[in-house]
């Protein structure tokens, strides 16, 4: 089944739509997070993990991944249809984001056969939650400067140091870990190695971090003489930087290969327009204010530009001068737009813009919270400032800053 007809696709779309309507997990009775980075309570986590398992078992996740590892070996277009349906029905997201979108594609691309056998299926079923151990407190966006040490000792590596921004750190069974196996070498990158590290090991301690919203959702993970088996090493010692860069191309959406399924329940510009009809500014719906109207139109245009870029990027003839511009800038464009969208949403509310998560706040304060959480997009995975460098250097060919 490699070629598909329009008819097949339509039938599949109807099937999947029907299944999701029937199996909508419904209101959990508490405010859900918008992304995996915001999962702050056990109740939120369990609800979302159960939902991912159910979607996987129904066959709507990892559809294009090989059958021998738990996927369905179907053309990508079917997964895209299912993912699109989850988005348009505004269903909860698949919480094993690192597994589905980073670790899974990476293992499929570069992992050993035994890794694929061991990890892929449980990533899809959410049996094994994955987290990411790249950033460090002192290194920020400068991954090459990672100081966390991994020292070979017999059949183990002994890890010391700490990693920060490990989302789902307290729920994760595995971590994709970038650690320093050597301090010599030609440059700082040469000493880095990449591990598929178990988390449930003595000496690994993920401690929740309070976010600027006041909520939790990240960990700082401490390694204190933690011993992990030597065969957790991916590739060879010293290849860590290259493997991390491949991983980041998955994050930045520059290549396909992810398992599919929505990774967030993010608010979009239509939600802001809808809010502008309800939110009052000085006794009138905000949407009647000429200044607001102009801003809404600009954001709708920009948001639509992002959608259309995705459509255009699929047409090679229309991506000739700088073919990587669209894929390389996805995170930058999306995260900055979200930040401004949330700012506008807050500004629709008059004096109530100054409220925060509470019953009195408009929509329970979710817009203010989303604005604060939006910084995880503009900071995490390389700040917007660094994204500009990356696009300027790798796409336009400008010299390094």
């Amino acid at each position: 089944m490699t070629a598909t007809t329009e008819k097949e696709r339509q039938e599949f779309q109807q099937e999947v739509a029907a299944w999701f309507v029937e199996n909508n997990p419904g209101d959990p009775g508490f405010l859900l997070p918008e992304t995996f980075m915001e999962v702050g309570t056990d109740a939120q986590f369990e609800y979302l993990r159960d939902w991912q398992r159910k979607v996987y078992e129904a066959g709507f996740l990892g559809m294009a991944w090989p059958e021998e590892y738990g996927g369905r070996g179907m053309p990508q277009v079917f997964q895209d249809i299912a993912t699109q349906e989850m988005a348009s029905q505004r269903l909860p997201f698949m919480p094993n984001t690192i597994g589905l979108n980073w670790a899974g594609p990476l293992i499929l691309k570069m992992g050993r056969e035994e890794d694929k056998q061991k990890y892929i299926k449980n990533i899809l079923s959410a049996e094994d939650i994955w987290c990411q151990g790249f950033s460090e407190p002192e290194a920020g966006s400068d991954l090459g400067n990672s100081q966390c040490r991994a020292v070979r000792d017999g059949d183990d590596y002994v890890i010391n140091g700490s990693k920060i921004w490990t989302s789902l750190g307290s729920y994760a069974k595995y971590m994709i870990l970038l650690a320093r196996t050597s301090t010599g070498g030609a440059n700082k990158y040469a000493g880095l190695s990449y591990f598929l590290a178990p988390m449930h090991v003595e000496g690994i301690d993920p401690k929740p971090i309070q976010k600027l919203t006041g909520e939790y959702g990240f960990c700082q993970t401490y390694f204190d003489n933690a011993r992990i088996p030597a065969d957790c090493l991916m590739g060879s010692e010293g290849e860590g930087w290259n493997i991390a860069m491949v991983t980041l191309t998955f994050e930045r959406g520059a290549t396909g290969g992810q398992a599919g399924g929505i990774a967030s329940m993010e608010l979009n510009i239509n939600d802001v327009v809808e809010l502008s009809r309800r939110a009052m500014r000085n006794g009138k719906p905000a949407i009647e204010d000429p200044h607001i109207r102009s801003q809404l139109v600009q954001l709708i245009t920009e948001s639509r530009g992002n959608q259309l870029m995705a459509a255009r990027a699929k047409i090679p003839a229309l991506a000739t001068d700088w073919p990587t511009a669209v894929p390389m800038s996805g995170k930058l464009r999306g995260s900055e737009l979200k930040r401004r969208m949330c700012q506008l949403a807050v500004s629709l509310q008059g004096a109530n813009g100054a409220r925060f998560v509470s019953e009195q706040a408009i929509d329970g304060g979710k817009w203010q919270r989303s604005y604060f959480n939006s910084f995880s997009g503009t900071i995490g995975g390389g700040t917007s400032e660094i994204q500009h460098n990356i696009v300027g250097e790798r796409v336009l060919g400008l010299p390094k800053s």
């Binding site: 950033s135 407190p137 290194a139 920020g140 966006s141 400068d142 090459g144 400067n145 920060i164 921004w165 971090i209 309070q210 976010k211 600027l212 919203t213 006041g214 990240f218 009052m280 500014r281 000085n282 006794g283 204010d289 200044h291 607001i292 930040r339 700012q343 807050v346 500004s347 509310q349 008059g350 004096a351 109530n352 813009g353 100054a354 409220r355 925060f356 998560v357 509470s358 009195q360 706040a361 304060g365 203010q368 604060f372 910084f375 995880s376 503009t378 900071i379 995490g380 700040t383 917007s384 400032e385 500009h388 460098n389 800053s401």
Partner: protein, 369 residues
């Protein structure tokens, strides 16, 4: 339009004293320690009272210094700079409101008390979040020699600590101002609100069931005076907040390293920080100009100056707070980073008494037609 700024010896002295006082009393650890406080800091309030700062704007005949609101600005700016949380701005607005709308008797009764530390709180905004102060829904219905109040007020800051409230209510379809004493508020009518600026202690005040004697209705109803005082104090707080944000940003930019350089050397961080600095310089200029023309008693000029100050300051502080978080990178995303304190303060100030879009719209007919 005038473009004069005057700054008196009294203002200079007050700015020096207040800067030093707030620096000492409100280091960032104290600000953080007070985020969860369920009471105001009575000791500090006593000191503020003893310094005479509650009487700065109160006419001498009522026990104040008679220096006008322009001399309150340096104090409010300093408090803003150190993110100090006190009932000061509300109390000053209440005294200014009594001075402009109170009868002789009302002034004689209340202004001396305020100078001695009685806390007034303003109860003006309603659940719809409108900034138009004289278009409200709360009611005061006369029955014999009492008024029966109804409605709901929000964003009443430090209401739990207040000795009295100035409440806006419709009396026979016209917006008026009533003074409500603490003891006239039934048990359970005050509810703490969760607001974005955690240094604020904000309350909802249910008016239903409140009865006040008719002589607690203020004689006048000068809502413009309330708005002007509030805009001036907020602009001062904003200007101070901008100074604080810049120091916070610059300190981080000068210490944090990334890619083998101190991050302040990156133009992507340096240049927007310069923008914030220039925004501050403009905000501070608008502020002290507004203070100057307000003291000159020229309502037309004052309106322009105040709306400009608030519009420019709101946008500038919101930008500074937003960039402060962003420029702190991963650390900026944590509660532990002070950047969020400024961002939250900025949003509070932005949405109190009108954001930049609101004031610009009001400036349009004045400046263009």
């Amino acid at each position: 339009m005038s473009s004069q700024i005057t700054f008196s010896d009294e203002q200079t002295m007050l700015l020096d004293t207040a800067t030093e006082f707030c620096r000492k009393h409100s280091p960032i650890e104290t600000v953080r320690a007070r985020l969860d406080a369920d009471q105001i800091d009575a000791t500090t309030w006593k000191e503020i009272t003893d310094l005479g700062w509650l009487g700065i704007n109160v006419p001498e005949e009522f026990g104040g210094l008679g220096l006008g609101l322009s001399c309150v600005v340096p104090v409010a700016e300093s408090m803003g700079r150190y993110l100090m949380g006190t009932p000061y701005n509300g109390a000053i607005t209440a005294s200014e409101c009594l001075a402009t709308s109170g009868s002789r008797e009302q002034k004689e009764e209340w202004l001396p008390k305020i100078v001695s530390g009685a806390i007034g709180a303003m109860a003006l905004i309603e659940t719809n979040g409108s900034w138009i102060l004289d278009q409200i829904e709360a009611q005061a219905i006369a029955s014999e020699d009492m008024f029966e109040l109804s409605g709901t007020k929000c964003f009443v800051t430090d209401a739990d600590a207040a000795d009295f409230y100035i409440v806006s209510v419709n009396v026979e379809a016209k917006a008026r101002l009533a003074l409500v004493k603490r003891e006239q508020i039934p048990e359970g009518n005050l509810h703490r609100e969760i607001v974005i600026d955690e240094t604020r202690r904000s309350y909802q005040l249910d008016l239903d069931g409140i009865m006040v004697p008719v002589d607690q209705l203020l004689e006048g109803s000068d809502f413009q005076a309330i708005e002007f005082a509030s805009l001036l104090l907020l602009s001062a707080e904003i200007t101070g907040g901008l100074v604080g944000s810049i120091h916070t940003i610059v300190e981080y930019l000068n210490t944090r390293r990334a890619f083998d350089k101190v991050i302040g050397s990156y133009q992507a961080l340096k240049h927007p920080t310069v923008k914030i600095l220039l925004d501050l310089e403009a905000s501070r200029s608008h502020l002290y100009h507004a203070a100057t023309v307000l003291a000159d008693d020229n309502a037309g000029e004052a309106e322009i100056a105040l709306r400009m100050a608030k519009a420019h300051g709101s946008a500038a502080f919101a930008f500074a707070g937003d960039r402060a978080v962003q420029f702190h990178g991963g650390f900026g995303f944590t509660y532990e980073c002070d950047a969020q304190l400024y961002l939250r303060r900025a949003l509070w100030c932005q949405y109190q008494f009108g954001d930049e879009a609101y004031h610009r719209q009001l400036l349009e007919p004045i400046l263009l037609d």
